[in-house]
Assembly symmetry: C2
Homo-oligomer: 347 residues x 2
DNA sequence: CTGAAAGCGCTTACAG
DNA sequence: CTGAAAGCGCTTACAG
């Protein structure tokens, strides 16, 4: 019997076995908590492992079990976003995903993919990860073909977004239509009649589209005018919200409220309004969506729809694990919550 | 010769070898770009691998090479921080570290450790990662013994923080003393004479301590009074800054400027000042440190010291890789940059 | 330039 | 409850 005991570096399971006077197999069993090992043996092995500071080698274990117990989080940034700025909302989500992973004993790899990257650089086929969590707004059209390809390859993945029929893989997302409705109803209830919507409403941005849909429906239900001039495109950055607001101001069409499709948009728009001398909320009410940390500390504390990122992260991780275990998973929609602050004049 | 060709699932290197009519060893060499392989062979192998969508199995490769090409980012949250809130500054750093890792072909594992966790749950001894990046403010005293232990174990790690003599492992950090000086000089140059400092200055918070040291020195150099009442403890949250500011206001001691040890503190303090009816910057100038994204969109756009997170991330990753390759690494200090906005009344 | 062989450190079916 | 053995899929010294 030729045995490979490690001499220099880290101890291996054989070293533990020798010290404990058992076989290497027993060490492995003991450390994994197998019921096949007697309590006395288990204790001895665990104790010696602790003494020698032995830790099971993950590469070896992964190779043998064909499982990595690792999830990969791919964050897709909007291609127009440059520099280190990332939507704070996704960072909240990232934080809660990290915690959720820790709780279920999964490791988490993260990567900020550009939308243009080739996802072939697969995490799963290299066995780096057992599944993927996809995060990001971004151009849904381009996105879609890649999702389909992932699906064909049998990849395990969940996605944060807006659920729509016929999509590849389960989608977990906020109830964007409902949130859009609730916020618009709130503004209407405060007596606002000319409510602008700032955010791109094409299907490239399904979240925004849904929020717009909620807004649209409430306007209609309330018998208010739907003026196409009252919608201005913007992606989710302060800069874009700022520019969109300026262009709306330049139109010289009257408005008494602004609903930003995201908090970043709303915060940028707020800046433009204040610079132009508008009184917020006296003259113009403003509202956002997401409840990012900065919302409460904006120049006027921002009324917004709070997304439950903590729950979202937990559900994303839980769903992905189900998928990895070949259990059925369906998409979930998480309700948002209206958070009233100063910016809309409700108080 | 018994050969293990994969039947069902993913192809392995032997499958590629068969198709290409070469040995499995040659496939491995070709895919790693070994110069020992002829160009023609290499091309054939690469082409077939692409066709079959073959990817080298990372667990196997890691096990064989005893390297994971993975770094682990441990983010230590302040124990008092609850909920999903994480200092946005660290999130910026996280983002830039992610990018830096991608650029050098390293994977990145992340984990939000609590300060009280046992770091024994080692990333390195399990071969999950080749080294650690440590991020976080937090109680330095408790921290220190753990750092020393990491060091004794021969772990590879770099740390973001304030460099001080005799520390375990290389520290990369902002020039906190210099930043503190620069900001204080700026406030003095604007005619402010009673400048409060909000932030804990004990050695548990070395960054804050250094910023305070810069502040203190400039006050002294400028011949200004140093009134102990003008320093109030706070950790780096808006809540803490808010509470500290309130307590300062309650002291009824006059002040004409507030230097928050971090942007979060300054933003919280700003809130307290505005609620108490102070005019910012007319009556009280306010400044922060970090230049987090929210700083520009605070109720008064905040003058602050910008930290170069992009460069910081790159240096952290680069330093850690040197360490892993047993090359000498020394700590680095990155200068901050004064960013003047409305909150200090300079314009 | 290429191949055959060993071995990285585990986990687990098999046999007792 | 325990051990001996096979094997996960690679990489690389060795030999040619």
């Amino acid at each position: 019997m030729r045995e490979k005991r490690s001499t220099k570096g880290r101890p291996n399971s054989l070293d533990i076995a020798h010290r404990a006077g058992v076989s290497q197999a027993t060490v492995s069993r003991a450390l994994r908590g197998s019921p096949l090992v007697s309590e006395a043996t288990r204790r001895r092995v665990v104790e010696i492992a602790r003494e020698l500071n032995y830790k099971v080698d993950k590469s070896a274990s992964n190779l043998r079990t064909q499982r990595s117990n690792t999830l990969a989080l791919l964050l897709f940034e909007d291609p127009t976003a440059d520099g280190p700025a990332i939507n704070p909302f996704f960072l909240s989500l990232l934080a809660s995903i990290t915690r959720a992973c820790a709780q279920v004993g999964q490791d988490l790899l993260i990567s900020f993919q550009q939308l243009s990257d080739d996802w072939q650089a697969d995490y799963e086929s290299t066995h780096k990860a057992d599944g993927l969590i996809l995060l990001g707004y971004g151009d849904f059209i381009e996105y879609r073909s890649k999702l389909d390809r992932l699906n064909r390859r049998g990849a395990h993945f969940v996605r944060w977004g807006s659920a729509h029929p016929g999509q590849a893989g389960p989608v977990i997302g906020c109830d964007n239509v409902g949130g859009g409705r609730e916020m618009t109803r709130h503004l209407v209830s405060l007596g606002r009649r000319r409510i602008a919507f700032i955010g791109t409403k094409t299907k490239q941005y399904p979240e925004f589209r849904d929020r717009y849909a909620g807004y649209f429906r409430v306007l209609r239900e309330s018998g208010l005018d739907i003026d196409p001039e009252m919608q201005v495109d913007a992606i989710t950055t302060e800069e874009s919200g700022y520019a969109a607001m300026k262009s709306l101001i330049d139109k010289n069409a009257p408005f008494d409220a602004v609903f930003g499709a995201s908090d970043l948009i709303a915060i940028g728009a707020m800046q433009a309004l204040l610079e132009a001398g508008y009184d917020i909320p006296g003259q113009v009410a403003i509202a956002g969506f997401d409840d990012i940390p900065a919302a409460a500390y904006a120049r006027r504390p921002l009324t917004t729809i709070q997304q439950d990122t903590r729950r979202a992260g937990a559900i994303l991780v839980e769903s992905l694990l189900h998928l990895i275990n070949d259990e059925p998973v369906k998409g979930r929609t998480i309700p948002g919550k209206l958070v009233v602050r100063d910016s809309c004049g409700a108080r």
